[in-house]
């Protein structure tokens, strides 16, 4: 048996001139919780939509459980479970009626259906509210039923698309526990998308960082964070040249000094003319990224260096070694921008 439950090769999804997903290639191992981390609009949901058969890819291919997502879509759909970002439920129906319906469309009937519905209600701890209409539930409870609906047919692979959006801390913890239990006790493979790095760090074995439809890094969380070495310092300077970068690289405790991807100017507000955007203030400094072997020592050395030469520091940021910093390091953007 192939050790990978998902194998995506160069998946592309294009809407007119816009490429929502670009050359996406990755694999998810059986029994793994795989994270897709990226800001809103990065292409995570589009990628999931292609893998679940909701959208056909423009080009490229993928196999789920060995079945091609285009040619063997029916088989793929039986393996997959999808928990969409939206609360994809019928508010006037009870939780049980919703789950019965989603079970029936996967071919479950009679005793088997009843048992499966009871099982998933237990998993999301909503047995006592099973016969209440969804519209009477709190946001967190609705999220839990949303997850249950994706589980009722016992999928081998579960796609959880931003499952904690708008959820209170208690329900969020409950969702985390459910995900971990499903993975641990039922060996369910899970693809978990989020723009919350804490969730991904907590739940996922490996993470693909996705930005503008493209995977910019894919590894274990440990290895991704190790990319930052002893930390990263970002410093804003009014004048930067190659000589300055070379001098900074020579400082003790500094591994490398490079130009960071510069933040884009703020987009014009809707309805405003392009010329308004042109005169919008752009940062008046250039960001230099200093990868350190030891961030504290490198910081002290760097400040001394600038003081001695009367170089004013326009901005300064020390990036802690975590996924957020990794994302900033790789894309020049914050995850929640």
């Amino acid at each position: 048996m192939n050790e990978n439950i998902v194998e995506a090769q160069r998946l592309v999804k294009r809407y007119g001139d816009v490429e929502a997903v670009r050359d996406l290639s990755f694999a998810v191992r059986r029994g793994e919780v795989f994270g897709l981390l990226g800001p809103n609009g990065a292409g995570k949901t589009t990628a999931i939509s292609m893998l679940t058969g909701v959208l056909p890819p423009t080009s490229g291919t993928a196999q789920i459980g060995g079945y091609d997502i285009v040619k063997e879509l029916d088989q793929v759909k039986k393996i997959n479970g999808l928990v969409p970002q939206d609360l994809a439920l019928y508010p006037t129906l009870s939780a049980r009626a919703n789950l019965n319906f989603f079970g029936r469309i996967y071919g479950l009937r009679g005793k088997e259906l009843r048992e499966r519905v009871e099982d998933v209600l237990r998993i999301v701890a909503l047995t006592d509210r099973a016969d209440d209409a969804i519209k009477t539930f709190s946001g967190g409870m609705k999220r839990r039923v949303n997850i249950a609906a994706g589980l009722v047919h016992q999928p081998k692979l579960l796609f959880l698309d931003e499952p904690t959006v708008g959820v209170d801390p208690q329900s969020r913890n409950h969702i985390f526990e459910s995900v971990m239990r499903l993975n641990r006790e039922r060996s369910m493979s899970i693809v978990y998308t989020s723009h919350y790095m804490e969730e991904v760090e907590l739940l996922c074995n490996r993470v693909a960082i996705i930005d503008q439809g493209k995977i910019v890094a894919l590894d274990t969380i440990k290895n991704l964070i190790a990319m930052l070495g002893g930390g990263v310092i970002q410093v804003g300077l009014h004048q930067v040249d190659d000589a300055l970068l070379a001098q900074l690289t020579m400082l003790p405790a500094v591994k490398r000094a490079t130009l960071a991807p510069q933040p884009a100017p703020p987009p014009p507000a809707e309805g405003q003319e392009a010329k308004v955007a042109e005169i919008a203030p752009a940062p008046s400094y250039t960001i230099v990224k200093i990868e350190a072997e030891h961030s504290q020592q490198a910081l002290v050395n760097m400040i001394s260096f600038f003081n001695e030469r009367d170089i004013p520091i326009a901005a300064l940021e020390i990036l802690e070694p975590n996924l957020e910093s990794v994302f900033l390091h790789l894309t020049g953007k914050k995850l929640r921008e």
């Binding site: 939509s49 759909k77 970002q85 019928y90 319906f101």
Partner: protein, 414 residues
């Protein structure tokens, strides 16, 4: 199978929505009741409950002819109005009058002489058959009674003359002979009445469309409008599924897009058929109880069912088209309502044809409502059958096909 699962789920949702039930069933009945009451007597039908019977009396000075006319007026249900022959003929051709009874020349003389005479009831081919039958029954009854009366009197007079000339010893049998003679005349009047009625239709009359009365206008009219308004329910159901993300979840399930769409269409189709059955049923059984005309269902129930099926199917396809082109809930609810009521108005569902005049012929035909109401009124007003509404049914089928194909072409599943 999944189409049925989706349809059942949508029915569950529908049954929890009391507002939808009111919109689909109670609202059209309120419109029908209010407008039929307001329009009763203004369109179609007679102003009073008596049926006006146009009569051409070709024996104007005859005593028996006058007796006949008086008897018709006194029989109940009929009011005689006299016309001259040429005028009656012209009015009949134009369907200004639906039938005319002709009393032949020398009616009085012939009756007095015991010669059989025939009254002719000529009815237009498009005359209301029920009314014609009622008139015929009354005229027959009066003619039979008159025949009996004249024949008995003549017979008794004859017996009286014979007895006066007989010797006294023969007069002891008078009573028995009188009874036997009367019995014989009575039987004869039944077999060969002196005054017979013959019903005919004039030849070479061009067919003319009979106009509906208030109930015949409003019941099919508002039924069609409200069945087509359920197209919004289909569109809104699809829109809501997309908005809530459940449509995406259904797309990820092992079912075809065709099954998914069929599942969304079935509830509309069945709801439309139930609407028609309920509204027509109430109009047949309940409207007469509150003083309105009973809705007649025509002579071809199969045709009525097939037309209803096509109306519901056409509305369902229109729902798919609306779902495909509407971008917001407001477009489905606001613009959809405006468009569907406008279609109903220009299609002749809101107003009787004489109010719309040329607009109905000029614009009406571009909307399915026109063909639907024409089909219904051909069946329930004019007593026509399946073969007579083929054009209307084909037009409804064409609209159904166009709505579905264009809807499918523009439909965005993702």
């Amino acid at each position: 199978m999944n189409a049925l699962n989706i349809a059942l789920k949508d029915f569950q949702i529908f049954l929890k929505d009391r507002g939808a039930v009111i919109n689909l069933f109670l609202l059209p009945m309120v419109f029908i009741l209010v407008l039929s009451t307001a329009m009763q007597g203004l369109i179609g039908g007679d102003e009073d409950s008596l049926i006006t019977l146009p009569v051409v009396n070709l024996d104007p000075d005859g005593e028996a002819a006058q007796v006949l006319i008086d008897a018709l007026n006194e029989a109940g249900g009929i009011k005689v109005r006299l016309y001259d022959q040429a005028e009656a003929q012209a009015l009949l051709e134009d369907l200004e009058i639906e039938r005319v009874l002709t009393i032949p020349p020398n009616f009085t003389v012939d009756v007095a002489a015991g010669r059989p005479v025939t009254l002719r009831l000529v009815s237009h081919p498009d005359a209301n058959e029920t009314t014609t039958e009622s008139v015929l029954r009354v005229v027959n009854g009066v003619a039979r009674g008159m025949s009996l009366q004249i024949q008995l009197i003549a017979s008794l007079e004859q017996m009286g003359a014979m007895l006066a000339a007989s010797p006294p010893e023969f007069q002891v049998f008078t009573t028995e002979k009188n009874v036997a003679q009367a019995q014989s005349q009575f039987e004869r009047s039944k077999i060969a009445p002196l005054v017979a009625v013959e019903q005919t239709q004039p030849e070479n009359l061009s067919e003319r469309v009979e106009e509906p009365n208030a109930v015949q206008q409003n019941v099919p009219g508002y039924t069609i409008i409200f069945v087509f308004l359920t197209a919004q329910a289909t569109a809104l159901s699809i829109y809501t599924e997309k908005k809530h993300g459940s449509f995406r979840r259904l797309l990820a399930a092992p079912m075809s897009k065709a099954a998914l769409l069929a599942g969304k269409m079935i509830p509309n189709l069945i709801t439309g058929l139930i609407q028609i059955a309920v509204i027509f049923g109430v109009s047949v059984f309940v409207l007469p109880m509150i003083g309105l005309d009973r809705l007649t269902l025509g002579d071809d129930p199969l045709a009525l069912v097939l037309v209803s099926l096509l109306v519901a199917l056409c509305s369902t396809s229109l729902g798919i088209l609306i779902a495909a082109i509407a971008r917001t809930e407001g477009q489905i609810g606001g613009l959809g309502t405006l468009a569907l009521w406008t279609m109903g108005a220009v299609g002749g569902c809101l107003f009787p044809p004489f109010l719309l005049g040329g607009l109905l012929d000029a614009v009406g035909k571009v909307v399915p409502h026109y063909w639907a109401i024409q089909a219904y009124q051909d069946l329930i007003v004019r007593g026509r059958g399946l073969a007579d509404v083929t054009t209307e049914m084909l037009a409804l089928l064409a609209f159904t096909g166009v709505f579905f194909v264009v809807g499918l072409w523009r439909f965005e599943f993702d």
